[in-house]
Symmetry: C2
């Protein structure tokens, strides 16, 4: 008896790390391999990836990796995935162009097979027949997937909104979706990012009037800060700049790179004689230049932050400049953004935030978009994906309460590591594995064991003390004064004599230890560690990491 | 020629750490001594305080510390202030009751002089004559201050909103304020926390209808999560519980403590036979109990988080429970709260957030409250205080654009460390000192040098390696294999032989060093440190802290 198994590795109950295995018989495809943005950045870890080792069990079944679109939370873990499972990769031209940049950094470009597909292409991968459905989103060249299996069709929405009039490209391809709806859809795997938001998500064109008014009124330079992947927004900035006879200059590495790639692929259309280099831009009158800049999230090393503190190639935001923050605030960045805005105000700039003017729209489906998606696909089962748990939950509530024919039984909440099994008798979670995230060390660009991060957290929280005890190899008596080195510990300073007392205390402890205790050197080190730990805790209240070394001579 | 000097030590351009010196001639009073909440918590630092050392210059001038109200961002640094400057402290009964708890923790209770004052008390402190004006806020027993000096009156609003019908106590005392307005106010130091919000801040009573509906509808237990200092909210919960014949049980240490203190002072009125202990609460039917709990910000150790993960004294949130999140989200807590809500949904609880129902109102003045304040006090100068820079800026914009008689000249933006000098000729910033914050080590409960925090950050970011090299004291040749201990470093594991190679490399380095180089032991250690650092960086890409020790035998 055949069945489909849906196995999310990431992106369920969290923002980022989108990745899902879909299995039929002994074949499995994987949709997306995204990265996450952990809170461990102070500990040298700024990327997390799904626990791909979990897929070892299915190694022989794996046939292909399908990418819905090029955002980091969908392709950022690609190199780490391909190092473990070198599958053929399917994606749009633009998605793969972005992916190639990542693969280059990891020297993988020559060893992987990339299949460029276009909207409405159908590829057969074993028992799976996959059609790529053109999807509208904040990025371009994005897909939803129709995945046909012998026992039913799955629709994976990817990230999407139902944009009837995007700035770049066509509207969401509801016609193809409806074709599948008519044929019968078994499962809809559906984006939940904006499932808590009522109404329709406005079209990417919705920002044009505010851009036009702001560009018309600004007497000085204009800085538009947005995500470097927000292609529709960049196109609007170029188009409106052109309409008002302004030139455009792109600042910030990721922005320059993305503009270049998108323009190469004809996705971003740079109006004739509009783009200028930084040098040329400086020579222009203030009211004739628009800068597109990175750093809308207050990132300390991005162009906008540097422009706000005067460290961007000698250029700085000045009185008379207008700054558009044309992006939403990603939770967690509030403090940095508030700091940034303060700095911009101090420089006398006019700040325009998305809260006050319609200069930003979301790229994700709101509730009425979700209604269109669900009512067009008319799936037997809906499985909310992409979002924190409370968003998935609200997605379910919305569908249950507002779309006819859906109830607790056919809107199914799953978690990372679940196996959702679907066959002719129904749908059930048949297995669950607790999947720990995998973390990537920022400097080593490689996986890092979480135990190492835990050690870093301890070191960072209270500092460390290195203790070196030199003893006679025969008598096990102290040969010289213990050496203590302190890093990051509170309550110890050269003046309060604490180190002196600590050395004496350690000397006493060594003297009191029996000769036999030193036979097990690790045991002896542990005794000294505990002794010094207690001493320091008693004297200072703190619990630094103690690193003991015994030298026997 | 006499002048007033206004010297903010904290709270300007930041949330928290409110503290301001006000000087006339050679006398200075200080208003509030608040703590801040730095981002360095992963590094054992969860409190920051103003740089009180800056006041050393004025030591002989200091006469009194005046507290506006009992929130942590106004009194939390009190012990650290009083250890440096043991001034008499003036505050309301409730403010001082909260302050006493803090002083107790620092064993200071017997050595400080606390003056309890009531609304409309006037105290003379040298040339200052201070009237305490009853202010409405989310807390109770709060004051604005009218500070009379020989050359003019200052109004310091403290934290406030213009609440015409608070749940506890009287409305904001506009009458007294108006009296000063009529006499003439020189400077209004005015709360900016909500200066970006249009309209009036709703009264604390505004939440009652939603509470009533929710309490009426809930079939199971009710959990109200709010700040333990939100006294009006707690009173509403008690009153509405009583009206619906429910008992109330208080969970979480700070909540229990604050309820006790407020009830003792008659500020919180616990309805007869309503409060029950945890044990008794367990025996009640689900629809007869309301729990007031801490943890509205998703704090991992607070009652609500523990109830959501089943670790609160054997009690847990269950299907059928209703949870009210009756507090705003403090920026930075979004992730933790979203996690918390997800966990509560998983347990089957009904979650009610302030975004969806009117179960929370701010304690701070919105723009139309600010209008009332400003038009009643009619000051010559307005100085926005309490808030991030962009809020102060918007406060100024609002007053300039919407209140007659104010312009760039008489709404003055200042920063921490500025001296704002005001005399008959006008107002000017006459001096500025860059004030670094002071940080408090969480474990040592004492000031910590920021250099130590910097060391912790380095340790936490990439880990550490202890290197012990034992050499002959005469020949300076290696006596035994170097000992290396690793903590929190990526890319090193027992299997890849890197430690072995590192030891060999160090041995080579020691052999290559000249005998004379070891005469300066610190220089020799530094050479070895740099050698190992480069080796590790080359091999792993990471830059751990290297802690070298040389043992000479």
């Amino acid at each position: 008896m055949e069945k489909i198994e849906i196995i999310p590795l990431g992106g369920i109950g969290e923002f980022g790390m989108n990745c899902m295995g879909i299995r039929y018989g002994d074949e499995m495809i994987v949709v997306d391999a995204g990265m996450g943005f952990p809170e461990e950045t102070p500990f040298g870890v700024d990327i997390s990836i799904p626990n791909f080792d979990f897929l070892e069990e299915y190694r022989d079944d794996l046939t292909a990796l399908i990418l819905t679109h090029g955002h980091e939370d969908h392709i950022g873990a690609l190199p780490y995935f391909l190092k473990k499972f070198n599958l053929p990769v399917y994606g749009s031209r633009f998605t793969l162009a972005l992916a190639e940049k990542r693969l280059e950094e990891h020297d993988l470009l020559d060893s992987v097979l990339l299949h460029r597909v276009e909207a409405n292409d159908v590829v057969e991968i074993g028992s799976f027949k996959i059609e790529f459905i053109h999807a509208s989103h904040s990025l371009v060249d994005c897909f939803s997937l129709a995945i046909k299996t012998p026992i039913g069709t799955l629709i994976h929405t990817g990230d999407y909104k139902i944009d009837d009039q995007p700035v770049i490209g066509k509207p969401y391809d509801l016609k193809t979706l409806a074709k599948y709806g008519d044929e019968g859809v078994l499962v809809l795997l559906s984006d939940s990012t904006n499932a808590t938001v009522a109404g329709r998500t406005p079209s990417e064109q919705a920002v044009i009037p505010a851009f036009e008014e702001i560009f018309a009124q600004a007497a000085g330079r204009i800085f538009v800060a947005t995500f470097s992947s927000s292609m529709h927004r960049l196109q609007v900035a170029f188009d409106v700049a052109k309409a008002f006879d302004k030139k455009v200059c792109v600042l910030g590495r990721s922005m320059e790179k993305n503009v270049e790639i998108a323009a190469e692929h004809g996705l971003l259309v740079i109006p004739y004689n509009t783009l200028v280099a930084l040098g040329e831009s400086r020579g222009l009158p203030d009211d004739e230049i628009v800068y597109l800049v990175t750093g809308s999230q207050g990132e300390s090393r991005a162009a906008l932050a540097n422009l706000a503190n005067g460290s961007y190639k000698g250029m700085e935001i000045e009185k008379g400049d207008t700054v558009l923050l044309s992006a939403r605030i990603i939770p967690g960045n509030e403090r940095a953004i508030s700091q940034l805005i303060g700095n911009l105000y101090k420089r006398g700039a006019n700040i325009i935030e998305e809260k006050r003017r319609l200069i930003h729209v979301s790229g994700h489906a709101s509730q009425e978009d979700i209604r269109i998606m669900t009512e067009t696909a008319r799936p037997k089962y809906v499985v909310p994906i992409h979002g924190e748990y409370w968003m998935l939950f609200r997605h379910k509530e919305f569908i249950k309460n507002h779309i006819e024919g859906y109830s607790d039984e056919n809107v199914i909440l799953i978690e990372n590591g679940d196996t959702l099994e679907i066959d002719e008798f129904g749908a059930r979670i048949s297995a669950h594995s607790d999947l720990e995230k995998t973390f990537i060390d920022q400097a080593a660009l490689d996986e890092i064991d979480y135990d190492i991060v835990r050690e870093r957290k301890k070191l960072g929280f209270s500092g460390m003390i290195s203790l070196v005890v030199t003893i006679d190899k025969d008598t096990k008596q102290l040969k010289q004064e213990p050496q203590i080195t302190v890093q990051g510990v509170a309550g110890i300073d050269p003046l309060n004599g604490l180190l002196e007392t600590a050395r004496e205390s350690i000397a006493d402890a060594v003297a009191a230890m029996k000769r036999e205790e030193f036979i097990n050197k690790n045991g002896a080190k542990e005794s000294l560690r505990v002794h010094l730990k207690r001493f320091i805790q008693k004297e200072t209240g703190t619990k630094p990491v103690i690193v003991p070394t015994i030298v026997e001579v």
